[in-house]
Amino acid sequence: MNLFHEMTKKPWLVDPTEASSVREVGAFFLPAGKVGLRVFLVVVTVVFTLITIAYADRMLFANWLPMQEPWVLWLNTAFLIASSVAMQWAHNGTRQNNLNGVRDGLIWGGVLTFAFLTGQLYVWQQLVDLGYYANTNTANAFFYLLTAAHGLHMAGGLVAWWRSFARMRRGASVADLRLSVELCTTYWHYLLLIWLVLFALFLVS
């Protein structure tokens, strides 16, 4: 759809070709689920952008004590990258009509994401043991806020992942799984991107 072309039409002039030429598709040649996910990712981006702006603004204030990033975060990042790769593997499986590939990709994607979330909780535990409480410094508070927001989004992703996985276990065909696996994969890649930006932010601040 060329938006500019659409929005400069003069609907009061009757165009005889119009009714017949409009096909039974929406504005984008995509299933509604994909459009919906993209709109949702825009909303997610706004949420993380606003927290990041608040973070950057707050850094300028006095009394900002950045904390040391535990090395486990690097491991968690590796888990998340691997989970994204696994989801891509499942997605490729749907394209090649390879049910085994879809299954392995989905299982590894879920396991690695679970490992990432467990690792994040372990980081929290470590930081609390070291005395980095949320109320001792706002840098800590932002760290907990951002990791929690990202972790909750990942956990939400796992709900969608579980639905695809359960459908696969009930014996759905590759064609039936294609859309939901693709949506999960897009979501995983995007949340990985967000995590990399957040991690970089923690490292430079």
Partner: protein, 603 residues
């Protein structure tokens, strides 16, 4: 590239194009309670919003009783007064107006007006309502926790909102923030539906520029809400952490009752920026659907096409875009850099241009129209007047130098109630009178409608016109009691009494309106399927009220825009959007395709 796309569309079979899998209810619980039909969800949203709106209305009576007759009512003390102010504001802006326009009218009208069977994600749509209901319940519960509801003012500015001495610090503010977070989660589920349905589920022939302006208004407002509510979400979560975990996102170092608090170096200004980055688009989240509804109702009841349809669409989009760069005009008194203020004053004045364009176009639509002064039309004309009034005082307040002395006075209360309270509410009434016959199959009582209109319209002017004057002479807002103040003349006391009495009378008219709705649902005059002779698709359904799936066996095909009224050379004074050109009856009883008409006939 375009060739590739064309080929792609030709091979896409219907099933892949999201022909909505209609969910069929088999039990009364899934049919009327946990229902996935957008029309039922719309009615659930509307009923809940109106119910909580009535609570907001009663709260406004309490405030006015105190302002009009201080020291008369023992049960109103300063604490409860601030709780009334806070809850009234929050309920009206978010839980009534936003929910009713988007959740209520959005759900009912989008699928019907674009020719879809339902929203594209019906299950999520249902969840959206139940999360909204939960948010409303959590908000209501906050009245009954120890310490009562929050009394922080509807903007919930920290540090005061979560500091000792503010009412509702114990539980009220926590529940308020939780409720807001829930509301935003629920809204996001609904909002995704509204946007994707408009983009992807339109009927054949319903191009973007053939959509009724109501759909355009709700569509752009939903996009604004999806982009703006995250700011409130972030602010709400961060303040909740400040209050519950003792973090210092917004809370600065303070000494409270002689003791240092544990907070350090938080930024209250950061909250204000986040809040108003949501708060100003929120004005247009409420206003844009109202603009759309007014355009459609005026055009239908004046039997004339809307003047400047394209400009109306572009203005909606432009206002939506501009609304994201004006937020700090709510913060002139926060001590901002003068250049910053200059920027925001300029953008604020620029936004008046597309807004004024819309007002001119409404007036020009009325010009030489065949005006039917039906109740919906009366409310729409009243809206135009009220919106111009409220808009012009907005130009005053948009200027830093005028805003600073007026900011803390009743002038601001009068301004935003005119532009954001009365104006959208008048449109909501217009919309209810207009679409009630479609929703229920019965007409609302005309006489009671006239009573409701005149008392509400004249009454709201009697309330808010004098309030501008009160503001000019310096009567402050937010004060529980002014007492003896040298610069405030005794006449202001009389004026306050007058306003309070008028508020109660106008409030009574709203009770009559609710009674009219309830009685008409059961005993109203039966309405035929298209009582206003309107062109848009919702009036062309086979059944009234429309059944599950909206359009019977076949989805409509759209041949023209929604404003084909009083077309020269055509027998009827309206041509429905889905009437095939060869069935349009020409004067002289011949039929023929309108498509062959020379274009100037349709100007």
């Amino acid at each position: 590239m375009s060739n590739g796309m064309l080929e792609e569309t030709q091979v896409i079979p219907l099933a892949e194009v999201e022909e909505v899998d209609l969910y069929h209810a088999h039990h009364w619980i899934t049919k009327y309670v946990f229902c996935q039909d957008a029309k039922v969800i719309a009615i659930q949203y509307s009923a809940t919003a109106i119910l909580i709106g009535l609570v907001g209305l009663v709260l406004s009576w309490m405030m006015r009783l105190q302002l009009g007759f201080p020291e008369v009512f023992d049960f109103i003390d300063a604490e409860s007064y601030y709780q009334y102010v806070t809850m009234h504001g929050m309920i009206m802006v978010i839980y009534l107006l936003t929910a009713l326009f988007l959740g209520g009218f959005g759900n009912y009208l989008i699928p019907l007006m674009v020719g879809a069977r339902d929203m594209v994600f019906p299950y999520m749509n249902m969840l959206s309502y139940w999360v909204y209901l939960l948010a409303v319940i959590v908000l209501t519960v906050s009245f009954f926790v120890p310490g009562g509801a929050s009394g922080a003012g509807w903007t919930l500015y920290p540090p005061q909102a979560i500091s000792e001495g503010t009412p509702g610090i114990d539980g009220g503010i926590i529940l308020m923030l939780i409720s807001l977070v829930l509301f935003i989660i629920g809204f996001t589920m609904g909002g995704l539906n509204y946007v994707v349905t408009v983009l992807q589920a339109r009927a054949r022939g319903m191009t973007l520029m053939r959509m009724p302006l109501t759909v355009w208004g709700i569509f752009v407002a939903t996009i604004l809400a999806l982009l703006a509510f995250p700011a409130l979400f972030v602010a709400g979560v961060m303040m909740l952490l400040d209050r519950v975990l003792g973090t210092s996102f917004f809370m600065p170092e303070m000494i409270v009752q002689g003791e240092m608090t544990s907070h350090e170096n938080g930024s209250p200004l950061l909250f204000q920026h986040l809040f108003w980055f949501f708060g100003h688009p929120e004005v247009y989240i409420v206003a844009l659907p109202a603009f759309g509804v007014v355009s459609d109702i005026i055009s239908t009841h004046a039997r004339k096409n809307i003047f400047g349809y394209r400009m109306m669409v572009w203005a909606i989009v432009a206002i939506g875009g501009l609304s994201f760069i004006v937020w700090a005009h709510h913060m002139y008194v926060s001590g901002m850099n003068p250049y910053f203020g200059f920027f925001f004053a300029t953008t604020t004045l620029i936004i008046a241009v597309p807004t004024a364009l819309k007002v001119y176009n409404w007036v020009l639509t009325l010009w030489k129209g065949n005006i039917h002064l039906s109740i919906p039309m009366l409310f729409c004309v009243a809206f135009i007047l009220t919106f111009v009034n409220g808009g012009i005082t907005g130009l005053f307040l948009g200027n830093v130098i005028v805003d600073i002395p007026l900011s803390d006075t009743m002038f601001v209360v009068a301004h935003f109630h005119m532009v954001m309270g009365i104006a959208p509410i008048l449109v909501i009434y217009a919309a209810i009178y207009h679409w009630f016959p479609k929703m229920s199959g019965r007409m609302l009582h005309e006489g009671w409608g006239q009573f409701h209109f005149w008392v509400t319209f004249l009454g709201s002017y009697l309330i808010y016109f004098p309030m501008h004057y009160l503001g000019f002479i310096g009567v402050p807002r937010r004060y529980f009691e002014i007492g003896e103040t040298s610069f405030i003349p005794p006449s202001s006391v009389t004026l306050n009494e007058f306003i309070t009495v008028t508020v109660l009378i106008v409030g009574f008219a709203q009770v009559v309106f609710i009674a009219n709705i309830i009685i008409s649902i059961f005993k109203g005059k039966p309405a035929d399927s298209n009582p206003w002779n309107a062109t848009s698709l919702e009036w062309q359904t086979a059944e009234t009220p429309p059944g599950h799936g909206n359009f019977g066996d076949e989805l409509p095909v759209v041949y023209r825009w929604a404003y084909a009224y009083s077309m020269p050379g055509v027998e009827a004074d309206f041509v429905p959007q889905n009437l095939p050109p060869d069935q349009v009856r020409r004067t002289g009883s011949t039929t023929g395709p309108v498509a062959e008409d020379p274009p100037e006939l349709h100007q």
